[in-house]
């Protein structure tokens, strides 16, 4: 058998004639179109959701990112202030801050700036039962103004970002400070320099508490810390903070008054 084109045409046409059900075709096409639209909508919804989540994440990262203010803050380092200068115990630099226990990333974090000069707090007179830290603290920005005698009180402050366990320790030391004057005798200062700190508690990204100030001379003894709403006595700076200050060059690391020579310390221990 050697089929000719005629045979082939005839063979191909053989058996034709089955009608196609148009209704069935249309129904199938409609179902396909509905499925396709549903798929497109679900895909679009997924894309929108992913974009929204991405936007939120980007926003969160952005709020934790370096906005340029205080970008020179590299750990404990001196940096120009990014917040309002000379404010009196108010919140400073509404810039974002890292969360507590978050790894310290100097390149992506922006923190509240330091006032140009130590804020002048107006604590209530006498004993104070007010709260130094009325809200849970995520971190602290500690501004160290060094020795007023040496700098005239207007030197560029050293700014430290205290996070994690160090922030917890600092908050705990502030909360456990006495609410009334201890009335103890302190040893003669081992140094002539007096150091002034402004501690700005960060409760949330962009939200800070009024500054808490403290001025002391090493060895620290019966240090008074105050804010606009409360005053505490006998504050003992956490050793970690002193070490951080020392590393920053603000002052040498030194233990607080608990290491005072007994013979010269006529008072009782603070705590």
């Amino acid at each position: 058998m050697s089929p000719t084109e005629f045979d082939l045409r005839a063979a191909l046409r053989d058996g034709e004639g089955d009608e196609l059900d148009a209704e069935r075709v249309v129904a199938g096409a409609r179902a396909y179109r509905a499925r396709r639209r549903s798929r497109i909508l679900s895909t679009a919804a997924t894309v929108v959701c992913v974009a929204a989540v991405g936007g939120v994440v980007a926003g969160l990262v952005g709020t934790g990112g370096d906005t340029g203010h205080g970008s020179g803050l590299a750990g404990p380092a001196t940096a120009p202030t990014g917040g309002p200068s000379g404010a009196n115990g108010r919140t400073y630099g509404a810039g974002p801050v890292p969360r507590l226990n978050q790894p310290y990333n100097t390149t992506t974090l922006a923190v509240p700036g330091c006032p140009a000069a130590l804020p002048a707090t107006k604590p209530p007179a006498g004993n104070s039962t007010g709260e130094l830290l009325p809200a849970p603290i995520r971190s602290f920005v500690v501004c160290s103004y060094g020795s007023p005698q040496r700098t005239g009180g207007s030197a560029t402050p050293t700014r430290l970002l205290v996070t994690g366990n160090k922030a917890v320790a600092l908050a705990e030391s502030l909360r456990t400070a006495a609410t009334h004057p201890l009335g103890i005798s302190c040893p003669a200062p081992s140094q002539s320099r007096t150091y002034s700190l402004a501690m700005i508690g960060v409760v949330a990204p962009g939200r800070t508490l009024p500054a808490i100030t403290a001025t002391f001379t090493l060895p620290a003894c019966d240090v008074v810390v105050s804010s606009d709403t409360a005053v505490r006595y006998g504050w003992r700076p956490p050793p970690a903070l002193l070490e951080q200050l020392g590393a920053a060059g603000s002052q040498p690391a030194q233990l607080p008054s608990s290491a005072v020579t007994p013979g010269r310390n006529e008072g009782s221990p603070v705590h």
Binding site: M1, P3, L12, E19, A22, V25, A29, R30
Partner: protein, 163 residues
């Protein structure tokens, strides 16, 4: 879809031809129905935006057929030896030559089969066949010649085996 009545009329007018072409392409009754449904669905979605529905439907048909034949899970491969080779006891002389020819189509590749169906069933010119398949006219000619040669060889071997 605005002109669904027009689409229905198109299906009623050309559906039988397209369905038969799809069965020839697939070599299977039911897969042919699936194939024509796929092609007509594409026409349905484009209805109102295509100027020549029938060529579009033909193109959709052969494109879908070739695409399906490329998918591994179809497992469709042209073979030198047809799986349904009749035995000597199944008297070839008793079988219809037309059925035999259609059966031999399954031994062709998907593109060769499409060329044969378009050229000899749909009666398209070589140029129209080339346009429908999106291949050069020369490829249509060579594919057609190769397909016919293979059909002749198959037919000769079948009739030889039957003797």
């Amino acid at each position: 879809m605005r002109d669904e009545a027009g689409f229905r009329a198109f299906v009623e007018q050309n559906g039988a031809t397209l369905l038969h072409a799809a069965r020839l392409l697939t070599g299977d009754h039911h897969r042919g129905e699936d194939l024509v449904q796929t092609a007509l669905t594409k026409v349905y979605l484009k209805w109102g935006r295509i100027e020549a529905p029938l060529p579009y439907a033909r193109k959709a048909l052969v494109t879908a057929h070739i695409d399906q034949s490329r998918r591994k899970w179809w497992g469709e491969r042209p073979t030198e030896t047809l799986p349904e080779q009749p035995t000597a006891s199944a008297d070839v002389a008793a079988s219809d030559m037309r059925d035999e020819l259609r059966r031999m189509l399954s031994g062709l590749s998907a593109r060769e089969r499409a060329v044969v169906v378009l050229r000899y069933y749909c009666d398209l010119s070589e140029q129209d066949t080339a346009d429908t398949l999106g291949i050069p006219v020369g490829t249509v000619k060579s594919s057609c010649a190769r397909a016919l040669a293979r059909l002749r060889v198959e037919a000769a071997s079948t009739s030889g085996g039957a003797r």
